[in-house]
Amino acid sequence: MEAVTKLAKPVAGSQSRFLKTETIVKWSLILTGAAFLVVMMILPLILIGVEALGKGWNAYLAALNEPFARKALWLTAEATVLSVVSNTIFGLAAAWLLTKFDFRGKTLLGSIIDLPFAVSPVVAGLFFIMLFGRLSPFYDTLQAYHIAVVFAVPGIVLATIFVTLPFIARSIIPVMEGQGRDEEEAAALMGASGWRIFWQITLPNIKWGLMYGIILCTARAMGEFGAVSVVSGHIRGKTNTLPLHIEILYNEYNFTAAFAVSSILVGLAVLVLILRNFVEWRMERKDDHEV
């Protein structure tokens, strides 16, 4: 973060007569952004907090300690980790392919990667129901091998991977594109292996993008509701993820507990963000040392 502001400062300093208008511009931009976030995001969060603590701390803690809530938390964690890992591998491969090579159908491929964003989550869930559910031609085969995909954990994982599929690829591609191919081409001509080029040249260049992608993917995977809701079957204590558990509590008119569990998701998101800030800080220090 500091490295960036260092870049920006000379620009600001070199034109001192603009300083005053610049300060005004700066603060009005910051305040507009802040106001937008307050209305769109902070107020909903405050509302969740107020509702979660509406019946005091004890009710709050009781809601979190309930076995069904804990079970749901684990299932959510499992689905999140699996989808982040597989989408990271995919995202790196896809970004490499799309930015380092020219081939026909590239635009189409890029659009197919974006496709999960274009699919309504509910419909995404139906995709897997049609493919693995009782109405599917493969259903009997799956049954014969006792493999349950939909209305079981694998279906939930698949649906989560699907809805979060484009995040990492999409975060890296613009950065890799901005970086160009010159460095990699030079390294390749000098005889460096593909892996070495990737680890030593590409990866350090795209680390920011990759980091953002992983954060987004993690956050979205934790919160996914629509698609998972279709494939889960809502069996309490078995196939309920945290978001589904929240819906159940809400439908039980147990608003305090519903918002309390929502606040765990908010808390987890905050945790991920703190982690990111820490990693950023570490990497900047290392970069500075190397320079």
Binding site: V4, M40, F90, F103, V123, M130, L135, A269
Partner: protein, 274 residues
């Protein structure tokens, strides 16, 4: 891949991974779905998807998604700019908040937003006095879509802005170009690609969004009935094929949006390269 004269290795490997993954997770489920819908005759399909009610639903979803994506493009760019270029207290907090719409389950977001924007809500109270019905209207739908779309533009622009070479700006500033001119002529062109990509994502996400919208939409036929809700009503009648038909039309339209925008980006890149 080698035959095109590429020197960078890894083409076959990444091609393999990408195709395998996309086939398994996207194309196979998609074709299972399309196959299911294709059982119905062409006439039935056309009749289902061109019903006046459906058309109203598409238009509403598209209109609100477009409005929300535009709002997000403006504020996303602004937020990315503020976060990359300025230092101020609370910056980290602001940076962190941007991702929250992803982490919050859409249903929770929908419930929280509806509670805020109904006539008696903290914010609704204010808007209703101005004569703007924020809940159970197209305005409400747009609000929900703005919420779910915030991160797309901001997060697409941010890394590119961060990696932008400061020397160009410095040169422009030294040559006497004003701040605004520098922004328009030097910075903005660099940001078009991520801006368009973020816009496209926010837009297509908005078209299909269900969970957060359904609470605030009001769901009144011909007024606030969004396209994804129509899919649900078809399913509720156990009419899978009609549901699939509507879903496919929506999908085709969002895909078209993505294709056009991706094509535009490619065109820009090529022009830049030339």
């Amino acid at each position: 891949m080698g035959r095109t004269g590429q020197v960078i290795p890894g083409g076959h490997l990444t091609m393999g991974i990408v195709f395998f993954y996309l086939s398994l997770l996207v194309l196979l489920p998609l074709s299972a779905f399309v196959l299911y819908a294709s059982d119905m005759s062409g006439q039935d399909f056309i009749r289902q998807v061109t019903d006046y009610r459906m058309v109203h639903g598409y238009l509403l979803s598209f209109g609100c998604a477009l409005a929300a994506a535009i709002i997000n493009a403006v504020f996303g760019l602004l937020l990315a700019w503020v976060l990359v270029r300025y230092d101020f207290p609370g910056k980290r907090l602001m940076d962190g908040l941007i991702d929250l719409p992803f982490a919050l389950p859409t249903a929770v977001a929908g419930i929280a937003l509806t509670t805020l924007y109904v006539e008696t809500g903290w914010l609704g109270r204010f808007f209703y006095q101005l004569g703007i019905p924020t809940a159970f209207s197209a305005v409400g739908i747009t609000i929900a879509l703005v919420f779910v779309g915030i991160p797309f533009v901001a997060r697409s622009v941010q890394p590119v802005l961060k990696d932008l070479d400061g020397s160009l700006e410095e040169a422009a500033a030294l040559l006497g170009a004003g701040k605004f001119l520098t922004f328009r002529k030097v910075i903005l062109p660099e940001l078009i690609t991520p801006l368009v990509s973020g816009f496209a994502l926010a837009f297509s996400r908005g078209i299909g969004e269900y969970g957060s919208v359904v609470f605030i939409a009001g769901n009144v036929p011909f007024e606030t009935e969004i396209a994804p809700l129509l899919i649900m009503t078809k399913l509720e009648q156990f009419d899978y094929q009609a549901a699939a038909a509507v879903a496919i039309v929506m999908l085709a339209m969002s895909l078209l949006v993505l294709l056009v925008l991706n094509g535009y980006q490619r065109y820009r890149l090529q022009r830049q390269g030339a």
